[in-house]
């Protein structure tokens, strides 16, 4: 299960991006203090005490990593946990989901000039002692572009007027550009990489982050020590962090219970269930809806021969499934439901979306109107792992009851990934990063050339037009307004992405003495290792 989740958690990677987005008024300016305490304050209700220095945090996790040092090669969501130990980005998030300063002290955006200007923090050094400056920024962007990273594909050039200023010239203005460039690029020491090569850098991270890697047994364990050249004054508090990779969920749980580990990030839902109610542990989860993953059922509407090419059949499918009941059963109460591309409470959650509350009578009626009074046979593809298979089995029974005889077909992750890119002939499990930035995340599904599920859905022109308006919006209000309209159109009018089922929150289970780690707080995959301390 945990392994499969690793593959799909990459979806969530995308979802890290955020609420924020563009503070982009015509040419606005932003700034902020990068104090970790700002981010930490939101989450440290347990941490009324003053942080103590020292100690080693022991992490047990099922999330392994093949590359730790050459950041353009690191794409999976799970990697964020490791990336934040050695590296920083230009921007980070606050607890409300707004972009804040990190390696950049302040920034300016200019939609008319298609530029992003970052003013870099003074006195920041890589762990090898070299300076972090605009040339380092430029060199890193070139590495990302060579690795064909989508986050940097829209950058035309990087200008470095002085050591502390980097101006990004974009090919086209995109309201998601600040997040893509500001948050998803992690800066390596050019000197260290050039002295060796990219292959060496894969195993030898040299960044500006709070820790340095001292020992790594691939697939087994990592040991980190405090970076003495770290730029946040007085931080990190911990002397070190030891990570043990454990793929078996039972062993993970026992390791925490025995005290051999202090926390399990990305905790499996079965562990949460087992450990719930134990006062020795605290569950951490995302609360602002940023970066969380949604899942549901998406039908093939692109094939004209498919019954699902008819919107009434898609709507019938949605009415036939009681997602409230299914999500409650498979999520053990740790999962919310939704009826659109957002978690309830997120900035782009449209309360006017009606959705499709469970109504089998209505489903049968719509099927008859669509010309399928006796129903039809189809397939429903799912993963073998975890609760997905259970959920799909339940949904398939409910679909069969209204006449959509959907036979469950279990696939492995590799085949599933291939189907995500190329489509399937029936219905399939749908994963989506339900970030408020619809231009970025829904676009990956809705665009005719989108990477996920795009080949199996229709692409209505009015929906594409709205998507385009979201992307070119020059202020936050316009962007949110268009997003709300798109939610309504996609779900109520077209039922294009089928039935949204659950909002899966990402969880960390930790001992009560682990403080201010902020796991998942500001967005689902982020944490603040520099502010973490042990209250014991």
């Amino acid at each position: 299960m945990s392994k499969k989740r690793t593959h799909f958690s990459a979806l969530v990677l995308s979802a890290l991006v955020a609420l924020t987005s563009m503070t982009a008024t015509a040419c606005s300016s932003n700034g902020g203090t990068a104090s970790s305490k700002a981010a930490a304050s939101a989450t440290s209700s347990q941490a009324a005490a003053k942080p103590k220095s020292g100690g080693t945090l022991k992490i047990a996790t099922g999330q392994t990593q093949a590359v730790l040092g050459y950041t353009p090669k690191i794409t999976a969501n799970a990697a964020t946990m490791y990336l934040r130990l050695n590296f920083d980005s230009l921007l980070f998030y606050d607890d409300k989901g707004n972009l804040t300063a990190d390696l950049a002290e302040k920034w300016e955006t200019s939609p008319s000039d298609k530029t992003l200007t970052f003013h870099l923090r003074d006195g920041v050094k890589f762990s090898d002692g070299t300076d972090f400056n605009s040339e380092a920024v430029k060199w890193n962007i070139e590495q990302y572009q060579a690795a064909k990273r989508t986050e940097t594909a829209n950058i035309e050039s990087v200008e470095t007027p002085d050591a502390k200023t980097a101006v990004f010239h974009l090919k086209t203005w995109d309201s998601s550009a600040l997040t893509s460039i500001g948050y998803f690029v992690y800066y390596m020491s050019p000197t260290a990489v050039k002295a060796h090569d990219a292959t060496w850098a894969e195993s030898n991270p040299v960044g500006t982050g709070p820790f340095v890697l001292t020992d790594w047994q691939k697939g087994v364990s990592m040991k980190y020590a405090k970076n003495t050249k770290y730029w946040r004054s007085g931080e990190p508090y911990l002397d070190g962090i030891n990570v043990t990779v454990i793929s078996d969920v039972m062993t993970l749980e026992s390791t925490l219970q025995s005290g051999e580990a202090d926390m399990i990030p990305y905790c499996d839902i079965t562990n949460l269930k087992d450990l719930a109610g134990n006062s020795s542990y605290v569950r951490e989860t995302n609360t602002n809806g940023v970066g969380v993953e949604g899942w549901g059922l998406i039908p093939n509407s692109s094939d004209p021969k498919s019954p699902f090419s008819n919107v009434k059949v898609r709507q019938a499918m949605c009415y036939a499934i009681d997602n409230e009941k299914i999500v409650k059963a498979v999520g053990y109460g740790y999962m919310k439901t939704t009826n659109q591309w957002a978690a309830p409470g997120a900035s782009t959650y449209n309360k006017d979306v009606q959705g499709y509350p469970y109504n089998p009578t209505k489903a049968k009626q719509l099927l008859t109107e669509a010309g399928y009074p006796n129903g039809f046979d189809t397939k429903i593809y799912t993963l073998s792992s975890g609760y997905y298979a259970d959920a799909i089995t339940a949904a398939s029974q409910e679909l069969t009851e209204v006449g959509i005889r959907a036979k469950p077909e279990v696939t492995d992750a590799t085949k599933y990934n291939s189907m995500m890119a190329n489509g399937c002939d029936g219905i399939m499990l749908h994963f989506n990063s339900i970030s408020p930035d619809l231009g970025l995340y829904m676009g990956r599904h809705l665009d005719p050339t989108g990477a996920f599920y795009a080949k199996m859905i229709q692409h209505p022109q009015d929906a594409l037009d709205l998507l385009s308006q979201i992307r070119s919006a020059v202020n936050e209000k316009a962007k949110t307004d268009y997003s709300m309209q798109l939610q309504k159109m996609i779900y109520d009018q077209y039922a294009l992405f089928g039935k949204p089922m659950g909002v899966q929150t990402i969880n960390t289970m930790k001992a009560t003495y682990v403080m201010d780690d902020n796991f998942h707080k500001v967005n689902a995959a982020a944490w603040t290792p520099w502010s973490t301390w042990l209250n014991k």
């Binding site: 990459a10 195993s203 047994q217 078996d248 026992s254």
Partner: protein
């Protein structure tokens, strides 16, 4: 004897070739590809193309197999996509770890299994026989994974005697290393030990019915001498066969045990590789395991010759 050894080596080479070819073809026949699995769903077609070429997955399957075989002869075991490292050094690091679990498990299983089998046979029909036979049946029947979890629950979480998981080389910390080895070694030894017990008991019972054992006893030899000097030695042939066969089982068991107790050996590496469709690692570990089993069986065959002069004479 030399002819026997040469013939068995020849057979082993053919078996190794067929096993690796079969595994290679099966791995490639499975749906999906390792590159998209490694890069995750956010990978762009350009990225996938870049990595596919880098790892040579764009070439025909048989060409890839040919390159792997050729590389093997030159000491190059290929590069792992999941670990982003050459497989040779990776495997070398992990072989020692696996051996440190399997070797003690094997020795304990053989010694205790034979002793218990002899005790059961000597006390045939008595309480000791019933107890040992029942325990052996349980040892064979229970899934080792379940026993492993049970031991963690009692010895680690309840009694706090042993660590839950992990591996520490004995050279680094002898006491901690031993503590971490106790559960995995015991769990791994359990099944083979039960098999050895049953096989020894059965072979001993058969041998002790033979005329030469009656003759030995009628000559007035001590029972201990009869059992050790005459019965056990002749009962060893089927036990040696079982030793050879149990090597494969032990290595198979390490895949589970290394996962459960988080031991960084060949078994856990193979598991990770299979999950990631890491062709090179799967191919190399299967080759390694098949070679170990082949060598062990070869040793067993040679041992036959020494233990039983009739086999030596036949060849």
């Amino acid at each position: 004897m030399v002819r026997l050894i040469l013939r068995r080596i020849g057979q082993s080479v053919v078996v190794l070739f067929l096993v690796t070819l079969m595994v290679f073809l099966v791995m490639h026949a499975m749906p999906g590809d390792p590159v998209s699995l490694y890069l995750g769903p956010t990978a762009t077609p350009d990225q996938i193309q870049l990595y596919t070429k880098e790892f040579g997955f764009d070439q025909p399957v048989l060409v890839q197999y040919g390159k792997w075989i050729t590389g093997l002869f030159h000491g190059n075991m290929g590069r792992s996509i999941a670990f982003q490292e050459d497989v040779g050094p990776l495997l070398a690091q992990r072989v020692g770890v696996t051996l440190s679990v399997t070797l003690p498990a094997f020795i304990i299983a053989v010694i205790l299994g034979i002793i218990l089998g002899v005790i059961a046979a000597v006390n045939h029909g008595k309480a000791a026989d019933s107890v040992i036979t029942s325990l052996a049946n349980i040892g064979i029947s229970v899934p080792i994974f379940w026993v492993g979890i049970l031991l963690v629950y009692w010895l680690s979480l309840k009694m706090h005697w042993l660590p839950v998981q992990g591996y520490t080389p004995l050279s680094t910390d002898f006491e901690l290393g031993i503590k971490k080895l106790i559960m995995p070694v015991f769990v791994l030894a359990l099944g083979p030990m039960a098999s050895f017990t049953r096989q020894t008991r059965s072979a001993m019972l058969e041998v002790t019915q033979q005329d030469y054992i009656r003759t030995a006893r009628s000559k007035g030899l001590k029972e201990n001498t009869v059992i050790r000097g005459h019965a056990l030695r002749n009962a060893l042939i089927p036990i040696i066969t079982l030793m050879g066969m149990s090597i494969g089982g032990l290595i198979g068991g390490t895949v589970l045990i290394e996962q459960l107790y988080v031991i960084p050996g060949v078994g856990s590496m193979m598991m990770t590789a299979i999950m990631n469709k890491d062709y090179m690692v799967v191919q190399d570990t299967v080759f390694f395991i098949a070679a170990v089993v082949a060598v062990c069986n070869l040793i067993v065959d040679i041992t036959y010759g020494f233990v039983d002069p009739r086999i030596r004479a036949e060849n």
